[in-house]
């Protein structure tokens, strides 16, 4: 069985990072993480190639559940206590209940969106691989990290990353840094 190694490249320039990702993908390498201090759509485009996030399914599921729950809680509770009949409205009155259904749709939809985001982002990520815990990535640097690269490919990957404009390429556990002037 091939040994797994950590390889990490740090970039100071966005175009160099994009070149590095592009070359890795062309060479058929997978299983690497790209880090950035801000969301850049160029990175998203090259990594996901237009594939949308599945969070949208969580949003829709939550919204539908919320809508049904809004209708359920209003109509069932009023059916259980049918004496409250203001203004001659029917026991199950769709118009006034629409307000509660709207609020429940938004509420449960938003909570499910949050849940979907947490799950797909892999949060909480307190125990994420050490090589990804680099404070420079929330400051001004970009990074490409292989947390489990095939040791046989190590030299080729390091060469590729160095030639793409990485300012630093490291391997192993030696990846702890401080942000300048922290």
């Amino acid at each position: 069985m091939a040994t797994a190694v950590r390889i990490k490249a740090v970039y100071n320039h966005l175009d160099c990072l994009l070149t590095g990702i592009d070359r890795l993908k062309r060479e058929g390498y997978t299983g690497f993480d790209v880090q950035a201090p801000l969301p850049r759509h160029e990175i998203e485009e090259i990594m996901y190639e237009g594939k949308p996030s599945p969070v949208r399914w969580w949003t829709m599921t939550g919204a539908i559940i919320g809508l049904c729950a809004g209708f359920g809680i209003t109509s069932l509770t009023h059916s259980a206590w049918p004496m409250i009949n203001p203004g001659g409205k029917p026991t199950v009155a769709p118009v006034p209940f629409a307000v509660i259904m709207f609020e429940a749709t938004i509420l449960v939809g938003a909570l499910f969106t949050g849940l979907g985001m947490i799950i797909h982002c892999g949060l909480p990520a307190f125990f994420i691989d050490k090589s990804l815990q680099d404070p420079r990535m929330t400051d001004s640097s970009f990074g490409i990290t292989f947390t489990k690269a095939n040791a046989a490919q190590q030299e080729a990957i390091i060469d590729l990353l160095s030639k793409s404009g990485a300012v630093e390429v490291t391997t192993g556990d030696d990846t702890f840094y401080e942000v300048p002037n922290a």
Binding site: A110, I118, D139
Partner: protein
């Protein structure tokens, strides 16, 4: 290969952005340094105001609702006026963060985080008032549907119940939206701190590391949150307005109320953003990020909504005349009578909300910080009196002349009003000192990305 997108050279935000990503971090992280005497003085003042509010509430719990000035027929007084006022203040934050995000407005970047915080704390303040108004505050859980032995449920056909659900949903969604936006910025604070402080921010950042996977799902979710929050902004104050408009009370029973209330809420909220951010900007030296460009845009929002309000005030009079309803005509003529009980409140409202903002049609005054601060404060006073005018005058001068009554808030009610302001400012001041009150990540999006050029 994807090309790096550069920022439009004509972008109006260009003079308002730092040179590098790192500079953004270091500028905003400075709030963690030892605060000035001015900051401590502001916190102390807010705590004194909170203590006054606490004393007033204690009096009410001890002696009962009789110590509050509300009595028949004016059963809704300062508590409901102030509740609507704070819900209205809470409007602008989500408007700025969600609606302006969806329309890709550039100037929102510097101000939206503080506005969102304002929303959360304003709604937290507003939520105190239904509990205070209950009198027996320990029974506040009756607001919510919970299984009980007698199968007694809430009346979901009542606008008051809609309001409970609308405000609770607005608060929950605003908090989630606010916190999700904060996570990557708290991670910046974590990475720039040490020891226990680092652990504290690390816990709150959920281990955020800015991986492509995290950004991909985060941005998708953020868009959905904004899409959910946008209709919520418009609906929540519409629902608040139905507390009044659904009742057959003269002066309340009007279909114009929802857009009128929403415009009023945005008006007061934007004015409050100016009132809050201007002193903070001087206190923490945020001028690079929050400056005249932002204030001017907020002033323009106020001008627009002031125009809508002025139209709504006029339209109320037109409708009362056109309807030929004697009760409607009576209440509106009485409100505008300078010698009547609340005539002064009506003219104060008109001056503050319709006349004073006209000053901002002058670019010179719209870009002058002193004028901005003074007019914004006048608007905040005016918007409190607008609610006072609507709520109190209609109840005090209802259908039956035999029930007419002069309501004036008691000392306890004034104490609670002062306490609510203290509560709001206390939380806001704590927030701006401990968390990124300017959105670091979104400011970075305004910075020209670092590009080497040739490889």
């Amino acid at each position: 290969m994807a090309k790096v997108e550069v920022i439009d050279p004509n972008d109006p935000g260009k003079p308002n952005r730092p040179a590098t990503y790192g500079e953004t971090n270091r500028d905003i992280i400075r709030v963690l340094l030892t605060p000035s005497v001015g900051y401590f003085a502001a916190v102390l003042l807010s705590m004194v105001a909170m203590a006054i509010g606490g004393w007033a509430w204690y009096q009410q719990i001890t002696w009962g609702m009789g110590v509050a000035g509300i009595t028949h027929p004016t059963m809704w007084g300062v508590y409901i006026v102030t509740f609507v006022f704070w819900v209205g203040i809470g409007h602008a934050g989500t408007l700025i963060s969600a609606i302006l995000y969806l329309v890709r407005s550039r100037w929102r970047t510097g101000v939206y985080r503080a506005s969102e915080a304002m929303t959360v704390f304003a709604v937290m303040t507003a939520l105190l008032f239904p509990v205070l108004h209950l009198g027996r505050c320990w029974q506040a859980y009756w607001f919510f549907p919970y299984p009980n032995q007698r199968q007694l449920w809430l009346n979901f056909k009542s606008p008051l119940m809609w309001d409970v659900f609308a405000i609770s949903t607005y608060f929950t969604v605003s908090v989630v939206f606010f916190y999700v936006g904060l996570v990557p910025d708290i991670a910046v604070f974590r990475d720039h701190s040490r020891g226990l402080v680092k652990k504290f921010y690390g816990l709150l950042a959920f281990g955020w590391r800015g991986t492509h996977r995290q950004w991909h799902h985060y941005m998708a979710a953020y868009g959905f949150f904004a899409a959910f929050a946008a209709p919520l902004v418009l609906s929540v104050h519409s629902v608040v307005s139905w507390d009044f408009a659904m009742a057959p009370t003269p002066g309340w029973h009007s279909t114009i109320f929802p857009p009128y209330f929403v415009a009023g809420a945005i008006f007061s909220g934007c004015a409050m953003v100016i009132s809050l951010l201007m002193p903070m900007s001087y206190l923490f030296d945020w001028h690079k990020y929050v400056n005249t460009w932002h204030y001017e845009n907020l002033a323009k929002m106020c001008l627009l909504t002031s125009g809508i309000l002025t139209y709504a005030y006029g339209m109320e009079y037109f409708v009362s005349w056109y309807s030929q309803n004697p009760y409607e005509q009576s209440i509106f003529l009485w409100r505008a009578d300078p010698s009547a009980d609340y005539g002064w409140a009506f003219y104060l409202m008109v001056f503050c909300n319709c006349v004073a903002p006209l000053a901002w049609y002058s670019k010179k005054l719209r870009t002058n910080h002193i004028s901005l601060f003074i007019v914004a404060a006048i608007i905040n006073v005016g918007m409190w009196f607008e609610r006072f005018n609507i709520i109190v005058s209609s109840l005090a001068h209802n259908f039956d002349p035999a029930t007419w009554w002069y309501y004036w808030p008691s000392t306890v009610e004034w104490g609670v009003l002062i306490g609510s302001a203290g509560w709001f400012f206390f939380w806001f001041l704590l927030f701006v000192k401990s968390f990124p009150a300017i959105a670091i990540t979104e400011i970075k999006e305004m910075v020209e990305p670092p590009v080497k050029g040739s490889l």
